[in-house]
Subunit: 330 residues, 2 copies
DNA sequence: AAATTTAGCGCAAACGATTGCGAAAATGTT
DNA sequence: AACATTTTCGCAATCGTTTGCGCTAAATTT
């Protein structure tokens, strides 16, 4: 069965291609009579305009790209899931490109976005991407870029990210209000900006409230390290009464240790985390956490993207304020 | 800065468009001299062929679609992650379409794939999709479809899925070899084919080995239900000595209950699950599980897809045999 | 030197949809 | 009835790339 094209329809109806095209688009030049005839046949034959032809003509497609280090991460997962919904509702498609936290692959992906003349690109950069000139080149092709989550420090670009200061502050305040005195605070890789930001705000909050709490700051690179560390600290004489986990990764290791030692939250030890929100529900009582969900972030990133596609050249840095989700672990 | 096109290059070099095109493609009709000139200019100006024009001409794009109920699922996540890698290596792109387990959305997504004349579509159907005629229509447009994971029962289509019989059998054998006698076996929604398949094979295995174990079969629809159920059974007089969890969802609820009761695996109670593999590492000791990873499945699905794209009309149902991953929970 | 081959390149159509412009037909106006 | 206007539609170009065919001039053969 041959494809149904305007040409096809035109021949069948003894009309010109242009008339058929206009009829389908309700162009005022076309009589009602012909419109009806054309539309009927189009419906019967299930005519669908050829996307490729339209893309060629308009020189842009209704596709967005998203470049991320890896899908296998709760945060990106919720971000993508949420973004895909929005994108679909607006008649766009979403193309996923993983960089595997590799700069070369990241660049290749970027090139793909350029080649495919995508309507726009969402990017969360790899942890060692510093030169973003290649990203900015897309602007020449009028392909807007929205950076999210892991954003470059360069100023003149659109960014949407979690307010790390605020999230860490909320966590610190929660610990202070619960009157915790011996707090183990576990952070991630100190090279990452996310870590330094959170750490800074965390410590500043304790100072601000003139807290007399003994706050032990530690950093880890993996769930396993957190697991070992928590076991070590919970076996110390002067018992830790609360643990702060900067990420889901750390939270998982922390909870493993707590369980191995046969302890329970919140009585034996309090736990609070900054989390995407899924992992905290895996425990009972559910973990109290500061939410840094990808859902909201995706909505914001998308609305910013729409503005850019519509022609906004205005550059913005948006931050999402997290909220404290009360579980029973603190 | 204007786009660099063949026309542009041709004018600059005082050549015809066709010559430029052929020069770039190393056509034998073109002299070496011109080839060099053309290629040099193309390189300098960073010429990139217009994908839209090529798509229009060839009437197909290098894009695959993937339609799934939801991304927020470890299995799909690993599947997509793995698939995206393959797809990218072969110069294709992957477009994600979530159906939200909704048949209407699923159909819309399918239509999008047809409209965009994708090179092929990977589909995991919603739990209540029974009529797959719409999927088969894509064949008319020469768009191959590979069903994966949740596949229709209809025979004449390409399917790639986990061998549920084998996975459940492995789990049962593990329980038998550990000499467990009071086994709580928790399955998912009995309406889903995945549940009935696993249940059937599970029971059959106990029979086959003439096991005298007391196997309690239960079904749940959520993590919360599993949580309640396990608490109930573990409080009974005749103590359960092992729990089988058909899915990650159930495993999470089960472990919550075990922790609330202050029990430990494997001594107080053994646990074994069929799982994607991430969740089992969240506990200590790690949960012993039968792997149903999306990674391998994605590789298989992709190679099958390549064959179809290459013209294979041959229809196949492929199954992946799971393996037992030894943790310390049984 | 004439005839034939071959190397090197350009013309033009095609993919399918859109749109400015012009033309014919229908209607209205004097 | 002659002219002006409006309705209704078709021609042809365009987006960028590819490709069959034909053309010219040089190289080869006779």
């Amino acid at each position: 069965m041959a494809e149904v094209t305007l040409k096809n329809l035109a021949e069948m109806l003894n009309l010109s291609i242009s008339t058929v095209s206009r009829a389908l688009k309700n162009h005022p030049d076309i009589s009602n009579e012909t419109k009806v005839k054309v539309k009927e046949l189009a419906a019967v034959l299930d005519y669908e305009p050829n996307t490729y032809a339209i893309n060629l003509r308009t020189n842009h497609s209704r596709e967005f790209g998203i470049i991320i280090p890896s899908i296998s991460n709760d945060f990106y997962q919720s971000f993508i899931s949420s973004l895909e919904e929005e994108v679909r509702l607006y008649g766009y498609s979403l193309i996923i490109l993983q960089s595997g936290n590799n700069q070369v692959t990241e660049l290749e992906n970027l090139k793909r976005c350029k080649q495919n003349r995508m309507a726009g690109v969402f990017v969360s950069i790899t942890s060692n991407t510093s030169d973003i000139s290649n990203f900015l080149k897309l602007d020449e092709q009028h392909i807007p870029i929205i950076f999210f989550d892991k954003v470059p420090s360069f100023e003149a670009c659109n960014k949407v990210c979690v307010d790390d200061n605020y999230a860490a502050t909320l966590a610190a305040e929660a610990l202070i209000s619960k009157n915790k005195k011996h707090i183990l605070s576990i952070f991630g890789n100190p090279k990452m900006s996310i870590t330094t930001k959170r750490l800074k705000a965390f410590e500043a909050t304790f100072k601000k409230y003139n807290s007399d709490a003994n706050v032990v700051i530690q950093s880890t690179n993996s769930t396993e390290e957190a697991f070992q560390m928590v076991q070590y600290y919970l076996n110390e004489k002067e018992r830790i009464d609360a643990i702060f986990c900067m990420s889901d990764e750390i939270l998982i290791g922390t909870m493993k240790a707590i369980q191995v030692l046969g302890l329970k939250t919140p009585n034996d030890v309090g736990v609070i985390a900054i989390s995407e929100g899924i992992i905290p529900t895996f425990y009972h009582p559910q973990i109290t956490y500061i939410e840094t969900s990808g859902f909201k972030l995706a909505k914001m990133a998308f609305s910013r993207m729409l503005a850019c596609v519509a022609g906004s050249t205005y550059v913005q840095e948006l931050k999402i304020e997290s909220v404290l989700v009360q579980g029973g672990s603190l």
